[in-house]
């Protein structure tokens, strides 16, 4: 690489106007032993950048394993709500339908009502017959006076 060219690149390097490719040329130039004496003072600058870029970290990173599966929670909440819905529904429906004892009692009530009705009908018949007896006794009194 021509000295002139390098000097020009250096100048624009310090102005912040070099491209990445230009800067690579500079780094490469200063990494060789052929650096011109007038530019020797800059070689440590460019070599420092190269050295710095080769530094590596020695720590290893491990991913923490305490990961919870979100699926499980989602599934559980659905199951729980189904149980609650079923419970409430069962309660509501069981209130509407009667127990066996109640049904028996209702049937007995109906039967006894019918029995009473029958009895009262017969009683009514009996009293209408009694009316006949009353008429008979009225006519008998007419004659016997």
């Amino acid at each position: 690489m021509e000295l002139n060219n390098i000097e020009q690149l250096l100048e624009s390097y310090f102005e912040g106007t070099t491209s990445l490719a230009d800067e690579q040329i500079l780094r490469n130039y200063f990494a060789t032993d052929l650096v011109d004496d007038s530019l020797k003072q800059y070689s440590s600058l460019f070599n420092a950048m190269t050295v710095s870029a080769s530094e590596t970290s020695t720590t290893t990173f491990t991913v923490p394993v305490t990961e919870k599966k979100p699926f499980n929670k989602w599934w559980l909440s659905i199951a729980a709500s189904i149980v609650i819905v079923l419970g409430v529904a069962g309660f509501v429906f069981s209130e509407n339908s009667l127990t066996q004892e109640e049904q028996k009692a209702l049937a007995a009530l109906k039967q006894s009502k019918e029995a009473m009705l029958l009895l009262s009908n017969n009683l009514q018949k009996g009293t209408s017959q009694l009316q006949l007896v009353e008429t008979f006794s009225k006519t008998k009194n007419k004659f016997l006076k």
Partner: protein, 168 residues
């Protein structure tokens, strides 16, 4: 995002994040802690990573913010970060020759203001585009260029000053 997928996205940029953290925090241990912390944050918010166009830019911004916070709290509690790791950069033979000069450059870089330090690092070490740097730091490209130029000149001036001091 599964564990495997996450590690594949994030592990390749581990060293990059480490270097940025070390540039800002100076200490190697602090930088390791910072990377660990940033990874943990990334893992917790891993679903969000997909929303960002570049996971790398996102992670770098996060690292920068974390380190600056760290520095702030250090200053507040009046603690100075102890560092003793200029020799830590290893094993290229070339480095040994220039080691002295290189260490001096690092020392000078440490004295720069945070923003200059960071931009100089992102550009000259990580070799990122101006547009990328601008986005990461929430600046415009011109501001990045100006700051970069200022940082480079400052390092140069310091270097020359020290060199002359040795000679004269």
């Amino acid at each position: 995002m599964k564990q495997q997928e996450f590690l594949e996205t994030v592990l390749p940029i581990k060293d990059k994040l480490f270097r940025i953290a070390k540039r800002l925090l100076v200490s190697r241990d602090e930088a390791d802690d910072a990377v660990q912390e940033v990874f943990l944050k990334l893992w917790k918010g891993k679903e969000k990573i997909k929303q960002y166009r570049s996971a790398e830019a996102f992670a770098i911004t996060m690292t920068k913010n974390y380190c600056l916070d760290r520095l702030k709290s250090k200053q507040a509690s009046n603690l100075k970060i102890v560092h003793s790791n200029y020799e830590a950069s290893n094993n290229l033979e070339k480095q040994l020759e220039a080691a002295d000069g290189v260490a001096r450059v690092f020392e000078i870089m440490d004295t720069l203001p945070e923003q200059q330090k960071l931009i100089l690092h992102l550009r000259d070490v990580e070799q990122l585009d101006f547009s990328e740097i601008a986005k990461m730091l929430d600046l415009n490209e011109t501001a990045v260029r100006v700051t970069l130029s200022r940082a480079r000149k400052k390092v140069r001036d310091q270097l020359i000053k020290q060199n002359n001091y040795g000679i004269k």
